[in-house]
């Protein structure tokens, strides 16, 4: 089976590999789950608040629960998944800190990706246009964006440090190219990357 999958999902799939237990939080239409389940033989569950998407997942043979992560994560036992995935959703929660805490509790490892608010186009937009940034990754206006808590790659790394969260791996996507974030290149990556992907525990 060939799936058209975005680069980010390819990277996440590669990290997870085969025969793992995975929870995809905010799994959408199940594209990543489907790949993980049928092409990589993982045991995958999903959580998704939008009914239509849940139905789509169920029809694809995926076990997805309709529900809001801010309420539903508490029901999953500690370390019950090898990986918990949260793709570009952290910024949309009312209480991202609590959600992250739950993810870390449930998963042996957690993969979090964030749209980088430090990306140069975002900075430019605000600096020169003087209005809230709209980019390919952040397509909404300030009044209808689901994103409540935007952060930069640097913000996220600082946050993990402050909360004693161990970052096993920091990756970033720059024009569809993947590279590793280190202390040395952080300044540039925080400007040049659209997306940060972190493996934390």
């Amino acid at each position: 089976m060939k799936l058209i999958m975005k680069k980010e999902f390819k990277i996440i799939s590669k990290i997870i590999q085969n025969n793992k237990r995975v929870l995809d939080v905010g799994c959408g239409d199940g594209t990543l789950m489907e790949h993980l389940k049928f092409n990589q033989q993982n045991d995958v569950r999903g959580l998704e608040p939008i009914k239509d998407l849940v139905q789509k997942c169920i029809s694809r043979g995926l076990s997805v629960i309709e529900g809001d992560a801010e309420k539903e994560l508490a029901q999953f036992p500690e370390k019950s998944f090898d990986y918990v995935v949260l793709s570009q959703t952290l910024q949309a929660f009312l209480d991202p800190e609590e959600v992250l805490k739950q993810l870390l509790r449930i998963g042996k490892q957690t993969i979090v990706s964030i749209p980088n608010f430090g990306y140069w186009k975002v900075r430019f937009h605000l600096l020169f246009k003087g209005t809230m940034p709209i980019t390919k990754n952040l397509p909404n206006e300030w009044y209808n964006t689901p994103n409540l808590h935007m952060c930069t790659i640097k913000d996220f790394v600082n946050f993990c440090e402050k909360k004693n969260i161990i970052i096993d791996k920091s990756l970033c996507l720059t024009n569809e190219k993947i590279s590793e974030i280190t202390n040395n290149n952080m300044f540039y990556k925080n400007i040049l990357s659209q997306l940060g992907i972190f493996i934390i525990k």
Binding site: M1, R21, F38, D43, R45, K51, V54, Q55, C57, I58, S59, R60, G61, L62, S63, V64, I65, E66, G67, Q75, F76, P77, S80
Partner: protein, 379 residues
């Protein structure tokens, strides 16, 4: 009612079954029906469980009532549960009145109808009886067990008792333990029957009379609980029945009154009052959580079955929150579970009606499960 059930398809269970009440039954009939054809590797069998007033006639014309089967919207050729593809089995529950062992059957020890001397049965008893039917049909693993309302309770009980006998389970609009409100509503129905002098302590079959009025009232009350306020308002509102103005009497002025009366009188033609008492009791006694000392997730420990829990937004009899408790318990033990709440104004009855989103979910879940089990190529 005393419709002839003698010629219905029945299996006489030769085993003895110890009921939850302590009594043991043996050589008892389980009436059943099947639809579709069992495939070669026996991987397409679905056991459907009926609800309180259902029977084994899931689809097509019921030969006794001459009406369409209770789940014709969902089961049949080309339907969500496609009988061209799946082999669908349904049995009349213990305590029922469509040929299975129930209060309307003859007690071989006394040669009289059981009436209220029939043992009180439970959901677990019902499910245990049906496993013999699967053995008889030579089915070791079902593709799925499916049912709504009391049928959903049987799904849960089955999945708990015989998790290795089904690849998947679809509990719909149900609960793992009957709520106080639902016990209260069932009690209302039972009291209506027992308050009818014709009930005669359950011995009405010895007379020419039957507690039709009581049973009809029980059905009317229950029927209201199957609908939603919004649904009722939209369908009936304050519309009058075949008249231009109020008649200042106690006749059925309003359409809703007439509708309920019709539902009540229709029901007594096809259902036995004592059966109604027994089956509602079984529902009230259902408490899967208690079977596992208050920890529902233990009911599903080590289950390999794939679950799809479905609830309806306007169902106040088995509300989403109660269905979600099942999901939470399944998640707590790491079971494979999906859950969706279907938007519908049609109340608890939604699972029996033409609710496209529901039927689509049902169809697609079964289809993907079937493909998984048969290792078919995915598109």
């Amino acid at each position: 009612m005393n419709k002839e059930t003698k010629n219905l398809k029945k299996l006489i269970i030769n085993h003895s079954l110890e009921l939850d009440c302590g009594r043991t039954i043996k050589n008892f009939p389980v009436a059943y029906e099947t639809y579709g054809t069992l495939n070669k590797n026996k991987s397409n069998a679905i056991l459907a469980f009926h609800a309180l007033t259902g029977d084994q006639f899931v689809t097509s014309i019921n030969p006794i009532t001459k009406r369409e089967g209770w789940w014709t919207t969902a089961v049949g050729p080309g339907k969500a549960i496609d009988t061209n593809k799946y082999f669908v089995i349904c049995a009349n529950v213990l305590g029922g009145c469509m040929g299975s062992f129930g209060p309307k059957e003859i007690n071989p020890e006394t040669n009289e109808l059981f009436g209220t001397t029939f043992p009180v049965i439970t959901i677990r008893d019902m499910v245990k009886a049906q496993i013999y039917l699967l053995d008889h049909l030579g089915i070791t693993q079902l593709l799925s067990v499916v049912g709504g309302s009391m049928g959903g309770m049987q799904v849960l009980q089955f999945a708990s008792l015989y998790s290795n006998r089904t690849f998947s389970a679809i509990p719909i609009a149900c609960s793992a333990s009957h709520s106080a409100q639902n016990i209260a509503l069932n009690e209302l129905g039972r009291q209506a029957i027992m308050a009818d002098p014709n009930w005669n302590k359950g011995n009405y079959f010895k007379t020419t009379l039957s507690p039709d009025k009581g049973l009809a009232v029980a059905r009317m009350a229950a029927h209201i609980t199957y609908l939603s306020k919004k649904g009722l308002q939209e369908k009936f509102g304050r519309k009058l029945q075949d008249k231009g103005s109020l008649k200042f009497s106690f006749d059925a002025d309003f359409q809703i009154e007439s509708y309920l009366r019709y539902q009540g009188s229709n029901f007594v033609d096809r259902f036995d009052a004592n059966s109604y008492l027994y089956i509602t009791r079984a529902m009230d006694y259902f408490d899967l959580e208690k079977q596992f000392n208050g920890n529902l997730s233990l009911a599903f420990k080590n289950t390999k079955s794939k679950f799809c829990v479905i609830s309806f937004s306007s169902d106040w009899l088995y509300p989403t929150i109660e269905n979600k408790e099942i999901v939470i318990a399944l998640n707590a033990c790491g079971a494979n579970v999906g859950f969706v709440e279907i938007n519908s104004d049609k109340g608890h009855d939604s699972f029996l009606l033409d609710v496209p989103e529901f039927l689509k979910t049902l169809s697609e879940f079964l289809n993907s499960t079937y493909n998984e089990i048969n290792n078919e190529k995915r598109i």
